[in-house]
Point group: C2
C-alpha cells in the first residue's frame, strides 16, 4: 500500500454513484419504474424490466440506503455496545447476534466502549448519532446507569449480563444453575468441600456464580473455604493456583481461562488433576476439551443468548414498546477428565 498506485485505479470519478434518475434516463423510463424494478414489483412488463436492469448494470447502480432509510423511517440496523472482544462469551454472543440479525435482514453496527465513565458516555454519544433501530448492550448495566447520557428515546434495548430485568429486557445465561451444577457435581463425587476461584467482583456474572457456589455449600452444610479472586485471565488463574492449600481437593473456577492457569499452577506444584485435585470451569470454550487434562466445565449456549437478544429487540421495535423481565438460557455440565472422586475421602 505504498502510496496510491496509478495503474487500474479510476481517476477520481464522480463522488456519488448513479441514482435512480440516472438509470431512468438511460433506460428511457421514469424514476418510479426504476424503483419498481429495484423492489421487484410485479407491475412491470418484462421488456421494460430488462431495459432497466441493463441500465442499472451499465451505470453500476446501487440503491442509496440513506435515502431509503429516510423514506422508511427505519434503518434495519441494530447497534451492539460492548467493552471488548477479549472474552469468549462476548465474541460468541456477538457472532450469534450477527447471524440472527442477518437472517432477519438487519445489519449490525459495533460500538466498542472503554469501560470508564467517559468511555461509556462516548459510546452513547456516538450511539445518539447512529443509524440504529435498536441496541443490544453486552455489559453490566450499572455502567449504563452511571452514564450521564441516557439512551436515546425511540431506541429499544436488550441487555446481556445484568440483573436489571425490572427496567430492561435482559437475556442471560443461567449463571446460578450452571454454577450449582458444577459445585453439586464435585460434592457428589465425594469432595468434602469446594474452593472457588471467582471472577472480578464488579462482574454481575461472577457474582452470581459465587452466590450459587456459596448457596450449595451452605445447603449441604459444608465448610466454606476462603474466596480466591481472578480477573478472568489465565494468568490470574495461575496466580490463584499457587495459593491453593495442599488439603484442597476440588476447585470451581468461574471461567475456563482461569481454570487453564489453575491447571498449570497445579501441574508445576506436582499436584495431579484429577487424582489430587478436581477442577471445573465455566464457559466451555472450544479449547477446553484439549486442556491437560480435558476440562469438565459448564457449557453456555451463547448462540441461544444471541438469538434471543435479536428476537427481543426486534419484537420491541415492531411493537414500539419497551419490555422487561429476564430470559434465562439454560446451561449444561460437560463432564470431561478434570474431575474425579477425591483419593482419600477421609
Amino acid at each position: 500500500m505504498k502510496d496510491n498506485a496509478v495503474g487500474v485505479a479510476p481517476p477520481a470519478r464522480r463522488r456519488r454513484g448513479a441514482s435512480m434518475a440516472d438509470v431512468a434516463r438511460v433506460a428511457g423510463v421514469s424514476a418510479q419504474t426504476v424503483s419498481r424494478v429495484s423492489n421487484g414489483s410485479p407491475d412491470v412488463v418484462e421488456e421494460t424490466r430488462a431495459r432497466v436492469l441493463a441500465a442499472m448494470k451499465e451505470l453500476g447502480y446501487r440503491p442509496n440506503s440513506a435515502a431509503r432509510a429516510l423514506k422508511h423511517g427505519e434503518f434495519r440496523t441494530l447497534g451492539v455496545i460492548l467493552f471488548n472482544l477479549s472474552s469468549t462469551g462476548n465474541v460468541r454472543t456477538l457472532e450469534a447476534i450477527a447471524e440472527s440479525a442477518a437472517l432477519e435482514g438487519y445489519a449490525i453496527t459495533l460500538l466498542p466502549a472503554v469501560p470508564t465513565q467517559t468511555g461509556v458516555n462516548g459510546a452513547f454519544t456516538r450511539l445518539g448519532e447512529l443509524a440504529v433501530d435498536g441496541v443490544i448492550v453486552i455489559m453490566e448495566v450499572h455502567l449504563l446507569d452511571s452514564a450521564t447520557l441516557s439512551l436515546p428515546p425511540h431506541v429499544q434495548v436488550v441487555v446481556v449480563d445484568s440483573d436489571a430485568g425490572d427496567r430492561y429486557a435482559v437475556v442471560d445465561t443461567d449463571q446460578r444453575g450452571g454454577a450449582r451444577a458444577a459445585v453439586e457435581h464435585l460434592l457428589e463425587l465425594g469432595h468434602r468441600t469446594v474452593w472457588h476461584l471467582a471472577g472480578p467482583p464488579d462482574s454481575f456474572a461472577a457474582q452470581r456464580r459465587t452466590d450459587a457456589w456459596l448457596a450449595v455449600l451452605r445447603e449441604a452444610g459444608r465448610t466454606v473455604p476462603p474466596l480466591l479472586f481472578g480477573d478472568w485471565s489465565a494468568e490470574s488463574g495461575y496466580m490463584a493456583g499457587r495459593l491453593v492449600p495442599e488439603d484442597c481437593t476440588a476447585v470451581f473456577a468461574a471461567n475456563d481461562q482461569m481454570a487453564l492457569g489453575l491447571l498449570r499452577a497445579l501441574h508445576e506444584r506436582g499436584r495431579r488433576v484429577p487424582e489430587d485435585v478436581s477442577v471445573v470451569g465455566f464457559d466451555d470454550i472450544s479449547e477446553a476439551a484439549s486442556f491437560i487434562p480435558p476440562l469438565t466445565t459448564v457449557h453456555q449456549d451463547f448462540g441461544e443468548v444471541g438469538r434471543r437478544c435479536v428476537e427481543g429487540v426486534l419484537r420491541q421495535i415492531r411493537h414500539q414498546s419497551a419490555e422487561h423481565g429476564t430470559a434465562l438460557v439454560p446451561t449444561t455440565l460437560v463432564r470431561r477428565a478434570s474431575t474425579a472422586p477425591p483419593r482419600q475421602p477421609r
Copy 2:
C-alpha cells in the same frame, strides 16, 4: 421478557422521533437555526442556543443520520466482511478495526458470511444495499473472486490475509518472516529437522507458513519430514499429535490452538515438552503463556493490522482512488518454555 410489560413502557408513541422542524417550532426559531445549534456553529446567540437546546431536550430530539448521510453523500461507516469470529486472529483484528474506526468517527458494520459460494454471494448482495463507504475483507481473496457478484463500485476495499496485492490493497501479518523465525529458532537449538503441523491448505496464511518452513529446511540442507495437516482447531492438533513419530524432536504448529492439542497428545503419550519434543506455535493468543508448558510462539500484532486496514480504506475513501500493494506487519518470536535443545543431539 415475558410478553410486553405494561408498566413504564411508553404507549406506542409516534413512530418517528422529533425532527428539526418540531424542535424549531417549539423553540420558535427556524429549522436552519436548529441545524446550526446541532452542528455547533458559532453564529448563534447564546440565548437562542439555550432555547433550542431546551426544546431538543424536551422533545428528545435525535438527529436523523439517514437524512444527514443523504445530504452529505457519505455514511461514515465501514463494512467488515468475515467468515467467523472463531479464530483469535479475526477477532483481534476486528477489535482493532473497530477501535481505530471509532477514533476517526467511523462506525463499523458487520457482515458475517458463511464460507460457501452462496454465503459469500449473500454477503455481497447485502453489502450492495448497505450504507458503507468502504469495506475491509477478512478472508482469502479467491473466495471474493469466485463470488458472482462483484464488489459494488464506489466502495473502497482493503483485504486481510491474501496475496492479491496486485489488485487490492492488502494488509497482512508477515507470515513468512514469522514462520522463518520459528523454524530457525528450533534449528539453532540444535534440532536436526523440524516437523510442521500445517493449517488447512485453502488458507493463504497456512500456505505461507508452510512455504517458509520448507524454505528454511531446504536452505539448511535438512531432511524434510512429511507434512501434518490440521484445521486450526485444538482437536485437530491433538489428532496430529498422535501421528508424530518417536524420533521427532521439534514441531512447528501453524497456530496456537493446534499447538495446544499437540501438547496434550504428547503429554498423553508420555513425551515431555520441551525435554523430548520442542513445540512452537503461531499467533500468541492470550492463553499461550498458560499452556503446559508455556508456549514459545510467534506473536502477531493484530492491533497494528487492524489500524493499517482502517488507515488504508480511509485514505482510499478520501482520495476516491483504489490502491494496491501489500503492507506487511512484522512478527516477533516469543520464547517461553516449550522449546529447548534436543536431549541427544546425535
